[in-house]
Amino acid sequence: MMLKRLIIKLAIASMCGMMILPMSANQGKAGEPVTGGTVVYLSSKIPSLNPLHSAYEVGLVTSQIFASLVRMDENNEIAPYLAESWEVSNSGKTYTFHLAKNARFHDGQPVTSEDLAFSFDIVKEHHRFGNQMFGPIDSYEFPNANTLIVHLSKPHGPLLLAATTPRQLPVMPKHIYGSADNFMKQDAHKNPVGSGPFVISDRKTDEYVSIARNDSHFVDGLPYLDKIIYQNVQDKTAKRIGLRKNQFQLARTDSVMRFSDIKEFSKVEHLQLTPYEGIAGGAIVLEFNNRKEPLNNKAVRQAIAFAVDRSQISNVLHGGYTLPSRSPLPATNVFFNPKLKGYEFNLEKANALLEEAGYPKKSDGMRFELNLIYIAQPFMPDFNTLPAEFLAASLKKVGIKVKLEPLQGFAGWAERSAAWDFDMSINWPGDKTDPAIGVSRLYVCDNIKNQAYTNTSGYCDAEVDKIFEMAAVEPDIEKRRELYYQVQDILLEEMPMLWLFDTPSLFFNHKDLFFPSYGTAENWDVMYWKTAQK
């Protein structure tokens, strides 16, 4: 899910022609970078070192092993990395990349244009967003070993931004990865060879992965750290004990604790809470199946929105670390209309709407029953079990009986979602920062597909389709904004789904550790200790 957000964010940035990410505020300018030291990151499972693996934590490791073509600097601008420089033709259909001459893979072989073209092709075929990122790539030219010319079938704005992180474009040596019949299934993934700042030093499956500085890295002076250890701990109590005892210097909060406890942990002296700028902007939604009675009735959907006190979820149950959503776009989005307030909590209105819609309370005090699917504990209960239970308790008060159907893991949920076999579903459709990619796909008619994270709610409205289409191709940002304001109003009125709360991503890091939280925020080669460690 993280991955999707990243891509979308990047894509938007290019389309809008402006950077939407605020500068990170927490950069410790006081301490000069110290070279050396070790950081232990509190990780989840790292099942594989295949750079295209689906697990989020795998990308955190491979982003250090592989280098990408370009990267985001601290001003959130595209900066050279493997590509020293590049040119884009006026038509926008030809890209020329000049690779750094001193760039070498960990086995000593130089990074060539052949390797780059190979990597584009592999990503296009096997990456989960390969098609969206590099689909238009048509053909290559190889003028010399360090230069690659890429021809596109049509102009494709997101290309350069998609190449800013090894999570999306790991540049891989063709001589190592190219020989396998099936890229996804080969021995090379055990001991990956890239050209990034770190190399794998040691690994025990389901215990830890340890990476060490690549002394001959082609970027001078980087990385700062000697070693990063990704240690897998499953139990939350154990994780917290470790964090408190300074056995980890970096951890994502949602994998360690529940939102409601962050405040308590922030008091631990050596820890600092840092928002992860790179992946802000998601939201959890309650998806309605718009095909089914009684949810095909707008009044019922609105009544549900009125019946749920979402500020209770965010402010009390989440300890204030999430925000009640006010619109189909999260409040961090450039196209978010700040005048919107969203649905207030109003049981009377909810009851009145339900009465009006023709669903009176029966003798048991209930009007009708709806099922609700979500992913069962222990998977991220703050985003699944907790809102689900809260919704059930809230809706009971207005006479809607909710049958909770927790599903074991992603597989069970994804199947039900894809089969449209639900009344209500708790969904985390990833980033919504760019409406053209992140939002429209959930509402437009031609994306009603039997696949999770498409328009599974089955909402379809010709006018909404039209506005989304116009907005996607509109170059003028003000006109775009107008269109999106319009669509926000319509969707808010129609309520095809209830936008529950916006989700931030927060990290705990040691207060002496500089944690780069800008750009794609996985450039840990520039992470450093502000004071020398023992």
């Binding site: 899910m1 993280m2 991955l3 999707k4 232990v40 499972k45 099942p47 594989s48 070192l49 295949n50 693996h53 689906s54 697990a55 075929e125 989960r128 967003f129 390969g130 098609n131 099936n182 996804m184 299934k185 993934h189 055990k190 040691d202 025990k204 499956t205 389901d206 215990e207 830890y208 340890s210 250890i229 240690q231 897998n232 701990v233 499953q234 139990d235 109590t237 154990a238 994780k239 004990i241 470790g242 408190r244 005892k245 074991q408 893991g409 992603f410 597989a411 069970g412 949920w413 994804a414 199947e415 039900r416 985390w428 459709p429 990833g430 597909k449 039997n450 696949q451 999770a452 994270y453």
Partner: protein, 323 residues
């Protein structure tokens, strides 16, 4: 004797095949597959990519062909390939097995030794403080949920009294000297082993006490006593051997579960054992791993049963077979 063992082994193989086939079909009936799980984990993908992945994992073929292929592989000793771990299943299980075996076997050995000792002692001296202690202890051992005890032990002995590590099987980085490395692992195993052993121990002390009391009341013991044999001799030579049959039965049953019997303790103490591997593979529909672990567990059970039978025959030749 030999023939009996061979027959058991043969039956065992049939059983294992049955286990695999049953679970193969059961798992196929579960909603969603590994491709669903992986695409959802990454937050997307399209129907075309899903189809391509299914094809490359062989999941697009009819179930019976998948089953035949799988059985064919197993016959030549190949347990398949984990889609999620990008690793052969056998390698994967073998890397998780040492942790589990160290935990379960040490807990089992401790429990059998001390449990029997406690039980026998309590039976010989039925009216003392110690006997009462054994009774109460075994009652609590029976009544405590193991994961609950584990959580409390974790909080008390890893946080409030920070004597032991809260997670993992080793420190990272590991100490250099092999001796220190062994000590380090033992240090990590103390709490989980203790938790598991306490519950096992309660069982053994309970059973050995009851069975010892039973035996001590029997005629042949009285005869032995009247023959003038010394009390220790009576107990050690005659009573103990007969009284330990139920202990052997229980130990056999638990030996059968060493492979995957510690899911809960391994989960609470974040140990990289077979239990959590299996649990997560079920959630993730990583079928080859699930089937591989069940294969291992079934094999262990059958071997443990055969061993139990042999021990039984050695201890009491009159017995034909208990399993």
């Amino acid at each position: 004797m030999m023939q009996a063992v061979i027959q058991r082994v043969f039956l065992g193989i049939v059983l294992i095949l049955g286990v695999i086939v049953l679970n193969f079909f059961l798992l196929q009936a579960a909603p969603g597959d590994v491709v669903d799980a992986m695409l959802a984990e990454a937050g997307g993908g399209d129907p075309e990519l899903a189809a391509r992945l299914r094809q490359s994992y062989g999941l697009d073929q009819p179930v019976y062909i998948q089953l035949i292929k799988y059985l064919g592989q197993v016959c030549i000793g190949d347990l398949g390939y984990s889609f999620y771990y990008d690793e052969p299943v056998a390698t994967l299980i073998l890397s998780h097995l040492p942790t589990t075996l160290m935990l379960t076997l040490s807990a089992l050995i401790l429990a059998v030794l001390f449990g029997t000792l406690f039980g026998v002692y309590a039976a010989i001296k039925p009216k003392g403080f110690f006997s009462n202690f054994v009774t109460v202890f075994s009652l609590f051992g029976y009544a405590t949920p193991v994961f609950w005890l584990g959580m409390i032990v974790l909080l008390v002995f890893a946080l409030y009294l920070p004597w032991f590590p809260a997670f993992g099987i080793r420190s990272i980085p590991e100490p250099d000297h092999p001796f220190d490395r062994a000590l380090d692992i033992i240090h990590h195993l103390v709490l989980p082993t203790f938790t598991l052993a306490v519950l096992f121990l309660a069982n053994y002390s309970r059973i050995s006490r009851a069975s010892m009391l039973d035996v001590l009341g029997a005629d042949y013991i009285r005869t032995a006593r009247t023959k003038g044999l010394s009390e220790p001799k009576v107990i050690l030579k005659h009573a103990l051997k007969n009284a330990s049959l139920p202990v052997v039965t229980l130990a056999g049953l638990q030996l059968a579960q060493v492979f995957s019997g510690a899911v809960l303790v391994e989960t609470v103490f974040s140990l990289p054992g077979v239990g959590p591997l299996l649990y997560e593979s079920i959630v993730r529909r990583d079928f080859p791993v699930i089937l591989g672990v069940l294969f291992g567990a079934a094999t262990t059970t059958i071997v443990a049963n055969i061993i139990t039978d042999l021990v039984y025959k050695w201890m009491d030749p009159r017995i034909q077979s208990i399993t």
